[in-house]
Amino acid sequence: MKDEEILERVKSVLAESFEVDPERVTLFANLFDDLGLDSIDAVDLAIKVQEITGKRVQPQEFRTIRTVADVVAAVQRLLDT
């Protein structure tokens, strides 16, 4: 999957499950400060990433995620492994 496709998937997940307006989702947007997610949402987002990639997400890997770019990179990394 290309980065642009992943970004689109992430946008739709953020819109559907976290009520985030897709227009506000840029690669640099911070999930917590800019898009209003909280730490429980981060756990749910990790589960969504598992669903997209079909791979298990390591909790410690997801704990460092801050921006949309981090999510895209994590999805890409999981797809590559």
């Binding site: 559907e16 499950s17 976290f18 009520e19 909280d38 730490s39 429980i40 949402d41 756990v43 749910d44």
Partner: protein
């Protein structure tokens, strides 16, 4: 006229002195509970749940004493509507807005045995930390664990006090709830007991010092409302992230509306400690 001024001045000085006395009393009381009574509990109650129960009861009594002293000293007055809901509370999620530092003291004084979610700063505090851990309160460091721990406490029939704002209200700004309380309500399936609190004139706000006391005895009003069911406020069958958002908005709306219509004085409810 001059006599009135002198009387007002004397009243102010008295309340200032008593406020200082209560702060000192609170600090000494915390030290005694943390380093004398609670370590004693470890000796007589080996079972953690029994220890929590006794510690919660001691906190109830200690805060009841503090409230009684503050009331007797005319530092504050308390007016309560629906207090019987708190006295008989079982496994309900007690949600309250948080205008004043004393809200938690008043709520613990009114509920015979309660658990609460405490900020991480308190959890790791050298004195209060021991107290909140022995009482089996829930630290909010790991949000995901808070929800599970809270649901467990509620399933044991212990009322849980949460301030959904997460901290004291900033005066003049709209209520802003964090979503943790909604997650707890949804995960536990237990009823929500809404408690509307007000403090008039405002005092002990976030960032204010103990000696900045109001010009007259302040009144803390506590209005306990009939229980709400999370399932009636949030749609079922959606992701929990969506359900928690809807429930949080519904609760914010409920509290904002109800606080606006909170009467300035509750008549016919004598102050009870």
């Amino acid at each position: 006229m001059a006599l009135n001024l002198i009387a007002a001045r004397a009243d102010y000085c008295w309340r200032l002195a008593m406020t200082g006395f209560c702060f000192v009393g609170f600090s000494i009381g915390s030290v005694v509970l943390s380093f004398v009574l609670f370590p004693g509990l470890h000796l007589i109650a080996r079972c953690a749940q029994r220890r929590h129960r006794r510690a919660q009861w001691l906190v109830h009594k200690a805060f009841g004493l503090l409230v009684a002293v503050m009331t007797a000293a005319r530092v504050m007055r308390i007016e309560i509507l629906g207090g019987e809901h708190l006295r008989s509370a079982g496994g309900v999620l007690v949600l309250a807005n948080h205008p004043c530092l004393l809200d938690i003291v008043v709520l613990h004084a009114l509920i015979p045995r309660a658990c609460c979610v405490v900020k991480n700063e308190l959890w790791t505090h050298p004195v209060v930390g021991c107290l909140v851990r022995t009482a089996g309160y829930i630290g909010n460091a790991a949000a995901e664990e808070v929800v599970g721990d809270a649901a467990l406490v509620l399933s044991r029939g212990i009322p849980l006090v949460v301030f959904p704002e997460g901290t004291r209200t900033r005066p003049g700004t709209p209520l802003q709830f964090q979503r943790g309380a909604a997650h707890i309500a949804l995960a536990s399936g237990k009823p929500i007991l809404p408690v509307l609190m007000s403090c008039d004139p405002p005092t002990l706000l976030k960032g204010s010092r103990w000696y900045q006391i109001p010009s007259r005895t302040f009144v803390i009003r506590v209005s306990v409302r009939p229980p709400l069911q999370a399932s009636e406020l949030a749609q079922e069958g959606v992701d929990r992230s969506i359900a928690a958002r809807r429930l949080t908005r519904a609760l914010e709306g409920y509290f904002s509306r109800e606080l606006l219509s909170l009467p300035h004085s509750f008549t016919g409810t004598p102050c009870r400690n």
